[in-house]
Subunit: 560 residues, 2 copies
């Protein structure tokens, strides 16, 4: 096989495929070179003038190596890895570096095994960073605990590139033994960081620990400080977090070296991907902001490959994988063709789901629960979660009993409950929430960052209980109950997080259930399910609810 | 230990060493930042404002990560690896990537074992590329043959970075099975190339084979073509081959991306290193030619680290090795201080030689030989090696018997012989050579690229034989015999290639014997020993002599 590559490179024999007359972006020299790209056995064997067994005239279009999405959680798309991968591929991304943090919180080791098995079936280079922080906090019950010794069992898997985002910054700076063990276990691989607004000597400590990347910079100054420390910066542009404009504006203004910068999406919903792709959208936006097209392509390809130590990926050059994107220009960036291992997109079979383990497909295990779970004892004063429109942060409100009663009557205050759903443990908590809306029913989901217990919100105990029961029956997902009737149901049977459906089937169903939620009276300025899914994340200020109770994030303690 | 790094980075405890008030070259952002560098346990833990247990005021001097010499043969220095390393260190190089091609031709596997053991004792990061072409050609007898299976035994040695320069371009392009096996065996590591003037589809074939680097470019155009193919370019500035000016002029003129370029010396003699260093001289020259200082430093540090996949080397950044150079400015580049793993040069013990194996210390094994070995049968016409002054290429001369006799009488024509010296095999050859000079004696050496048999040149059989006998007695080196007397003798007892002496002892002895050679009448426009050492290298046009006979390089066959 290597022999055939060498022979066809010299045209002693015709290459399998020649893409003729392209404007080839060379990420090594920074040039754009006109010529043909010769491919044999899925490998690029030369750029120059070639005749191939099969030829395609590119008519002067741009040719880039396939894009690399350097950090993302597939779970945010709510479809399975193969289905997600195909969506990336359509937009020119041929490599993804994923952190299965969410599903690992549900299924632990078994989830990682399932995902790594699925990775092999993905029509894309599918890499995995092992989730470093499962559970994310000690203030809740997740489905699993992943210790250093557990993660080390996957150390040599060829699709594992290292340790996933090290969210426990405090634990790192304070040298918690288990974190040190995880870092040392993966010091020969890549360690992803997660250090929003960490600066100065704290950042030095975090980088010194061995963290190689960060994707949480929201300003240019933050990004540059991380670069100086030796951390690579992954510029994020997802559905919620959009940091590209701020960072790239600074890069352009200051002519900073971009070789340690790459692009990522972190969390991007399928509907948004369908509109504009992932890394493709980042490139287009960056060029519009004045970044040189070649530098943008470098960030989208070879830089990410270098940062993650990926060989033979990220360049149109001899011996590199024939992962290729063809597009019209940098203004429109219409993707005209995509090749994965030299095979055109149209010839790549639509993704088929692999088998997932029974346990992961029936992950909703709730202990005994009845309507009393949603009773809240009468008190003089309550701490209430205040939703802020268009944000995932919340306000801690203080309300008197009378004020709560008034809110319940007027429809602004509702009950929210979190119920442990992994191991049928007797943990659940209920509190009041302000600003969500909703009349005569309940909405519930098993997607609840990061432990993914059940969250249910409603105006009556009976519908809330029913919604929980339905989630049990469908193995997790989204549910809407109105006056005792199920009016919306979106199964997410893989871990209670992802649908087994194709993207084409899934997207309209998702749109429909969101629509139904709004029809139930949910505030139009929030996303009915995504907003809900963040109400249990006890790391974002000011107040959250977990299966252990109401949690004051700013005080770092439970409250009432 | 990691804990202490993290703690001192945050200054919860004082770092061991703080270099204060430096102008720190940040290779990631391309900036020069003023500040302090904090070091703990030999690791950089932060840049900023720090107080240390020990402090040194740099008074605004430049601070760079230690330089990386990306490709070299220590044998060219004629001292041992630890001695050589110390010389590099004095000039700011803290990492060397070496190819022990010469000593491997003498001692094979045993030589590699010896060198890798010595590497551990070097006061520098000493990496080894495994020689891929031993013997270099099938037209001579070397001391050893290294097959793919032999080399693979060293695959996992932590100091081995991959396969050394793949000189057999033809064998690669024609897919010789043994070469393919070597390439495939090291495809997960780095493969160094050696492709002078290889271009077009041949170069595509060579790069497609999996070659990652090349250090043989002599023009900018050649360098750029290799970069485009995906090969990193190591810009060479050695004692004989000086390619930096041509390449860097082109780089500056065309503003090409330099991220895949690094510096090397390949072959640089100790006396030249003592004058100007290695990579330091490359940087100084490149900046003088107009390359931006930061880009020059990137080439000298992080680029080489990236090309060879070296982690935590090549930058002044958190968690990186405290391999540090301090210098005054880019015009003079006076090296003011060097730190290796945080230890200042003056505190690093002078290198001590390790034990080398007995076989390697007595590598001169010549079969039975007498004066008849230097008889040349009388013929009508002879092929004669024509030395070209200041070059290692030769001209193939045709001389009549009368013309040879005249040359011998006038002192222009002399006899040259090559004698197998590794396994006392009965191979030797003798021929005429023009342009060397020399009266009343013989000069001999065991340094004879690449098989390192004995080369002896002289005007009478008796002195030639005596010179060979002396080389046997001293286990190799340089010898001058005049009228039956030994007038110069420089033992190179390690494989017949390297002296066990310190640099201070060795250099004057080398100078002295060269001086003596000139006094014997050797042409002043050639180096008496280096010129001789290349006369047996049957890959450089036009004519050479090996232990198997006179070889016409252009016709690729033996001649008479």
């Amino acid at each position: 096989m290597l022999e055939r590559l060498i022979e066809t490179a010299q045209e002693r024999e015709k290459p399998d495929l020649v893409l003729k007359n392209g404007k080839i972006i060379n990420v090594f020299t920074g040039e754009i070179v006109e010529g043909d790209v010769a491919v044999t056995n899925g490998i690029i064997v030369g750029v120059g003038k070639y005749d191939g067994k099969f030829e395609k005239d590119l008519k002067g279009k741009y040719v880039s190596s396939g894009f690399i999405n350097a950090h993302l959680h597939v779970e945010s798309s709510m479809v399975t890895p193969p289905v997600y991968s195909y969506e990336e591929l359509k937009w020119g991304a041929t490599t993804v570096i994923t952190d299965p943090h969410e599903i690992a919180n549900v299924g632990g080791m078994e989830a990682l095994e399932n995902i790594l098995r699925a990775a092999e079936k993905c029509p894309i280079n599918y890499y995995v960073m092992l989730p470093s922080c499962v559970p994310a906090t000690p203030f809740e019950h997740s489905g699993a605990i992943l210790k250093a010794d557990d993660l080390l069992k996957f150390h040599d898997n060829p699709n594992v590139l290292g340790l996933g985002e090290l969210m426990n910054v405090v634990g790192t700076l304070d040298c918690y033994p288990e974190i040190i063990k995880k870092i040392q276990g993966f010091s020969d691989k890549i360690i992803d960081g997660h250090s929003p607004m960490v600066t100065g000597k704290a950042l030095n400590g975090y980088a010194t620990a061995g963290v190689n990347t960060d994707h949480e910079s929201i300003t240019y100054e933050e990004a540059v400080e991380k670069l100086r420390c030796g951390m690579a910066v992954l510029v994020r542009e997802g559905s919620a977090s959009k940091n590209l404009t701020a960072i790239i504006n600074g890069v352009v203004k200051n002519s900073i070296d971009t070789s340690r910068m790459a692009f990522c999406t972190d969390d991007k919903h399928l509907a948004d991907i369908r509109k504009e792709g992932t890394v493709r959208a980042n490139i287009k936006k960056a060029v519009k902001l004045g970044l040189s097209p070649v530098k943008a392509i470098q960030m989208a390809t070879i830089n990410a490959a270098n940062i993650y130590g990926l060989k033979k990926i990220g360049a149109i050059a001899c011996g590199y994988k024939a992962d290729i994107v063809v597009f019209d220009d940098f203004e429109n960036m219409n993707i005209e063709a995509v090749y994965k291992d030299g095979i055109p997109l149209e010839d790549i079979p639509k993704p088929v789901n692999t088998e997932y383990s029974k346990k992961l497909m029936s992950s909703v295990n709730v202990g005994y629960i009845d309507e009393k779970a949603f009773d809240i004892p009468i008190k003089y004063k309550y701490s209430v979660i205040g939703i802020i429109e268009n944000q995932i942060a919340t306000t801690k409100l203080e309300m008197s009993h009378r004020r709560v009663e008034k809110g319940l009557f007027e429809g602004t205050v509702r009950k929210i409950a979190v119920i442990e759903r992994h191991h049928a443990r007797d943990f659940h908590a209920c509190a009041y929430i302000d600003g969500y809306g909703l009349e005569h029913g309940a909405i519930a989901t098993t997607v609840a960052h990061d432990s993914h217990n059940i969250i249910v919100i409603g105006d009556n105990n009976s519908d809330m209980l029913k919604a929980v029961e339905i989630l049990k029956n469908i193995n997790g997902g989204y549910v809407i109950v109105k006056d005792g009737e199920i009016i919306g149901k979106l199964p997410l049977e893989l871990g209670g997080l992802m649908s087994m459906k194709s993207a084409d089937e899934f997207i309209p169903e998702l749109d429909e259930i969101i629509q139904k939620a709004y029809e139930m009276g949910v505030n139009k300025n929030i996303d009915p399910f995504i907003t809900l899914s963040f109400m249990a994340l006890p790391v974002i200020p000011e107040i959250r609810i977990t299966d252990c109770g109401l949690f004051d994030v700013t005080k770092f303690e439970f409250t009432e």
